[in-house]
Each structure stands twice: as structure tokens, then as C-alpha cells.
């Protein structure tokens, strides 16, 4: 590498450290650190081990700048956030028409674990509820369970730029207590909506939910979608560009469980949450947000994560349909300069 390149790269890592945008995130983290509402998920004992004070916020821009504050290295299980991305892989495996014939994309006011199928077509409502996610996992190609899991893990690696492991105790617990999900799978088998390799598909579903990620990974996942399906740091393509819009639009309409409508209205960022405490949110063309804080509200979304996304959306005008000038200009805050008062 030339000296000029070295100077540039050192300078850019230093300006990321002193960027007013990072300072904004530090203040935001501080603002909500003491917000002690919600409860850590405890339907399996492994999730109840999460510390309520863990709190990480990471933003990755579509240009690949990384800003992180708090516990961004702490690993946790991805849970339902996996559903959006596995849906993308199913689309690559089979195309839109076939996948749509197996899973609808209609938001449901029902809870994520409801056992309800569309009465006319027998399809589960959307890929973000458990039934839809199981039907989606069923579509993942591979000669056996191992190869299918490997393909899912490789996909996540393309998005985040690093290897992922499964949390085995979480997987085994989910599997041991997953009778409701098993019931859904058999109901769908009864209607011919899923193949008969039920155990293998359920294993894959429980495994995909038990993938270990951190807040930075979540920001990388959404930044990759924000960047048209190409990881902005590694420059590797993670998903066929034709299906980026499918994943993002389903996240917008169904990503935040039965709070999705209000989320789309108030925050206006396509997002997906998980009961592990993660949220990944996308500002298309601009950036990806990853938050991690285990306490959840009654609808299963991270309390601090919601607040962080709300503030970022409002302060920088990131709402998809916002046309008013925001209070803060994102580019100026990232680059720094005289127009920015971050003190």
C-alpha cells in the first residue's frame, strides 16, 4: 500500500472516532441506558441469562463507515431476525412466484406464534410469523439438513463478513420446547404447504434462530440491504439484487410483530426484531442500524432498540416517506464540519 493510502485509511478511521455522528450515538446511548422498562425473554432458560443492562448501538453506512457504541461485541441469538434473510435465500432458490405460492406477504394483527393460515389459500400470512418462517425454511435447498444449514450460515457470512456459530443450548431448548411450532408445521403439512421432511426443516428453523450475532452484525445485515445487497465493507454480494426489495418490503409491513403498522408510521424504517433483544433497521441507500438490548416490550420488541430507532429516524429524517428537512443533516454529521454542533 502506498503512503498516501495509509494516511487516508488512518485518517478515515480517526475521523470515524471523532465524527459528530459517533458523538451523537454516544449521547443517544447515554440517554436510553437508564431506561429500565420491559422484560428479558424467559420462555427458555438460556435467554433469561441475558443481562438487562446490555446495550449496544451500531450504525454502518452504505459507504461502509462503522460507528459503534456500547456492547457491540456481545453475542446473542438472532432469533426472528433470521426470518427476513432466510426469506431472501428462499427467493433465490425458487423465485418470487413459487415462494409467494407457499407464503403470503400479508401483515397479520395476530401474535407471531398464532396458528392461523389464510383460509382461502392455506398459506401462512407472511414469512415473519413463525408459521411463515417454517414454510420458508422448508424451501431452503440442500441435500440434507447439514447442507441446508451450511447454506444459511454462508449466507449470513456474506451479509456480515464473518463466520457465525449456532448456540447449541439455545437450539436444543428451542427444539425441546417447540411443540407449538411443530404443531404449525404439521398443520401446514396437512394442507400440503410444506414438504414431509418436517423434523429436518424444524431443526433448520430452530438452528437459524440460534445463530449468534452481535449488534455490529445486525447493522451489517441491514447496511448490506441498504446498499442494494452488497456488503459495504467487504463488497461481497449477499443477495441477488432482484430480491432486495422483497426482503425490505416484508420487513416494513411485518418486521416488528404486531407493532409493525405503528412502527411503519412512526419510525418508517423497514426493520426486524428478535426476542434475543436485537433489532436491525434499514434506511435504504443510506445506512443500516443494529441495536441490542434484551428487555422487550409486551409485543416482543426491544424497548431501548425502539427508542434508538425512533430518535435516529426523527433526528436525521430517515423515515422512508419523510420529505421535510430534518433537524440534522446526516452527511454533515458523519463528515463533521462547522455547521455541526455536537457539543
Amino acid at each position: 500500500m502506498s503512503n498516501v493510502g495509509d494516511l487516508q485509511s488512518l485518517a478515515s478511521s480517526i475521523t470515524a472516532m471523532t465524527s459528530p455522528f459517533r458523538n451523537y450515538l454516544i449521547d443517544l446511548h447515554e440517554k436510553y441506558r437508564s431506561l429500565n422498562e420491559g422484560a428479558v425473554a424467559d420462555y427458555i432458560p438460556e435467554l433469561a441469562l441475558a443481562k438487562p443492562e446490555w446495550f449496544g448501538v451500531c450504525v454502518v453506512t452504505a459507504e461502509g463507515q462503522v460507528f459503534e457504541v456500547g456492547n457491540c461485541d456481545q453475542l446473542f441469538t438472532i432469533q426472528s431476525i433470521s426470518k427476513a434473510f432466510v426469506f431472501g435465500l428462499a427467493l433465490e432458490d425458487h423465485g418470487r412466484e413459487y415462494v409467494n405460492s407457499k407464503v403470503s406477504v400479508e401483515p397479520t394483527g395476530e401474535a407471531f406464534n398464532s396458528i392461523v393460515l389464510d383460509e382461502a389459500t392455506n398459506r401462512p400470512y407472511n414469512p415473519m410469523v413463525n408459521a411463515g418462517a417454517i414454510a420458508t425454511a422448508d424451501l431452503i435447498k440442500g441435500k440434507d439438513g447439514t447442507e441446508r444449514l451450511k447454506r444459511v450460515l454462508e449466507m449470513f457470512k456474506r451479509y456480515t463478513g464473518r463466520e457465525h456459530d449456532i448456540n447449541v443450548p439455545v437450539f436444543l431448548s428451542e427444539k425441546a420446547t417447540g411443540n407449538r411450532n411443530r404443531a404449525m408445521a404439521y398443520l401446514m403439512l396437512n394442507f400440503g404447504m410444506v414438504s414431509d421432511k418436517i423434523d429436518e426443516t424444524l431443526d433448520l428453523y430452530f438452528q437459524q434462530c440460534s445463530i449468534m450475532v452481535n449488534a455490529r452484525d445486525l447493522a451489517m445485515l441491514s447496511a448490506t440491504l441498504a446498499n442494494g445487497g452488497v456488503n459495504p465493507v467487504t463488497k461481497e454480494r449477499a443477495i441477488d439484487e432482484r430480491y432486495v426489495q422483497d426482503v425490505i418490503s416484508v420487513m416494513l409491513t411485518c418486521g416488528m410483530y404486531d407493532a409493525s403498522g405503528e412502527w411503519a408510521y412512526r419510525v418508517g424504517l423497514p426493520a426486524k426484531s428478535g426476542v434475543g433483544g436485537g433489532i436491525t433497521a434499514i434506511a435504504p441507500g443510506k445506512l443500516g442500524i443494529g441495536t441490542f438490548s434484551p428487555p422487550l416490550d409486551a409485543k416482543g420488541n426491544s424497548v431501548r432498540g425502539i427508542k434508538v430507532c425512533e430518535d435516529l429516524s426523527k433526528d436525521f429524517g430517515l423515515h422512508l416517506f419523510n420529505v421535510a428537512s430534518p433537524e440534522r443533516n446526516l452527511q454533515e454529521w458523519i463528515a463533521g464540519g462547522d455547521g455541526v454542533n455536537d457539543w
Binding site: 494516511l7 487516508q8 488512518l10 485518517a11 480517526i14 475521523t15 472516532m17 471523532t18 459517533r22 458523538n23 454516544i26 463528515a335 463533521g336 464540519g337 462547522d338 454542533n341 457539543w343
Partner: protein, 252 residues
């Protein structure tokens, strides 16, 4: 809005700490709340000028970087030591002068992001109007950081070839880091040099403003490392030059 001022020189021996001490004191004497952080962790020294003895130091910048306390716990009110009265206040965050501490920080390093966060916390906790950062000569991660965070970067140079070259390097870095305002200060200018011609030449070379020219002064040398010159001799031409630079920082 508080202002961060970094004082940098490419080489050692330019009188950087002396300059920082005098300038910070001048600004505080004009009625502002001023903090000085000695980020010259490998060779701290500015505390001597402010008459803060090592035995009076409990926590230091090192303690903060090691997570042993908040940065404001390492800030010492030195207003009285330098005769700053009234609304003005002067605080110093010294680096540790213990050989063990210096060795530990050189050996283990630290997360340079903490420096950025510490500066901000210090400004908030002490409600500072100005934060002066005394840097280690040459280039390092922490000088890069202090340059990047600055609203005003002051580069001190002596009128000789080595400093001219070094300053050009520092200017390159400053531009790469999008620094907002650069002021040059010429120190130890020999009396036989014509100050106006010198100022013009340096400004043409770097396309930046020369904020002040300080002579090779025996008066300062005599007092070196024992106190703040401009407090003891407020009417001396050197002290007046410091007020000129202070004015440019306050107005700029």
C-alpha cells in the same frame, strides 16, 4: 459552543508546552473557563509550568484511560497557581510522571476512542468554554485524534528548514482530517529576522494564517518551566503577542 484547540509541533523543543500554558492562561484571564489536557503521555511536562507538583496529583489522564475513574476526577483547578481570578477558571488534566505509569501506557497502549470521549465528558462536566490539548511532538494516533477533534489547530514552528518540512507533513495530515481552522505560530524567531517578511513567507508556504511570532526570548528562557510568563510580565511584548493569538481564537 465550546471550542477545542490543539497545539501541535512536528518536532520537539519548539516550546509547545510553554506556548500552550501561556495561551490557555491568557484565555482564562480574559474570563473563560479553560481546560488543558496533557496528552503528551510519553513525556509529560506542562504541569511544571502550572506549578502542579507530582505529589499533589492523585488521578491523572492515565487513570482515566485505564478505566480507573472519570476524566474530571483527574482535573485540577490551577487558577490560583497562575493568578487567574474572577469568572475565569483554569483546569489541568496532567499525564502521570511516574516511570511505571509511562511504561505501562507505552507497553499496553489504550483505546484511542477513550481520548475523544474523555475530552467531551471533561468539557461537559466542567462546563468549559475552551479545551486546550497539549500533544506529543510528531505524529501518532493521539495527535491525529486531537487534530481531528479540534476547532482550531495551532501548529508551532521555528524558522528553520527541519521545521518547515515537518510542518508541511503536519499540514497534510490536518487537511486529510478536515480540520476546520489552522493557525501557525512561529516561535524562537531570531531577532535579526524581519517579522513581517517572515510572516509573509510562512503564510505563502502553507496558505494559512500566522497568528503570532514569538522571539527567541531570554526572558522566557529564564523562567522556562517554572511558571507562566504572561502572568508574571503581563505588559511584556511577548505577553501582548499571546493576547493577540488568544483574541484570534476567541473571535475565530
Amino acid at each position: 459552543m465550546p471550542k477545542v484547540v490543539s497545539i501541535h509541533s512536528y518536532r520537539g523543543g519548539t516550546g509547545k508546552s510553554n506556548f500552550t500554558a501561556n495561551l490557555a492562561t491568557t484565555v482564562a484571564a480574559l474570563g473563560s473557563r479553560v481546560g488543558v489536557v496533557d496528552t503528551d503521555v510519553p513525556s509529560p511536562g506542562i504541569h511544571n509550568l502550572f506549578c502542579l507538583e507530582p505529589e499533589q496529583m492523585g488521578k491523572t489522564l492515565n487513570s482515566y484511560l485505564w478505566g480507573e475513574g472519570a476524566i474530571e476526577e483527574a482535573a485540577y483547578d490551577i487558577s490560583a497557581n497562575v493568578g487567574v481570578e474572577g469568572a475565569g477558571k483554569l483546569f489541568l488534566v496532567p499525564s502521570s510522571v511516574k516511570a511505571d505509569d509511562i511504561a505501562r501506557i507505552l507497553k499496553d497502549g489504550y483505546d484511542v476512542r477513550l481520548m475523544n470521549d474523555g475530552f467531551r465528558n471533561l468539557v461537559k462536566a466542567l462546563q468549559l468554554d475552551y479545551l486546550f490539548i497539549d500533544t506529543h511532538p510528531g505524529l501518532s494516533k493521539e495527535t491525529f485524534l486531537s487534530i481531528a477533534i479540534s476547532h482550531v489547530l495551532i501548529i508551532i514552528l521555528r524558522p528553520d528548514k527541519q521545521d518547515y518540512q515537518g510542518t508541511a507533513v503536519a499540514m497534510d495530515v490536518a487537511r486529510q482530517l478536515n480540520v476546520r481552522k489552522v493557525l501557525l505560530a512561529i516561535n524562537k524567531a531570531h531577532s535579526k529576522l524581519n517579522p513581517e517578511a517572515l510572516k509573509q513567507k510562512v503564510e505563502e508556504t502553507y496558505s494559512e494564517t500566522v497568528a503570532g511570532i514569538f522571539p527567541l526570548s531570554e526572558d522566557i528562557v529564564q523562567l522556562a518551566s517554572e511558571g507562566v510568563f504572561c502572568v508574571k510580565y503581563p505588559e511584556h511584548p511577548v505577553s501582548q503577542e499571546f493576547r493577540k493569538v488568544a483574541q484570534q481564537i476567541i473571535e475565530g
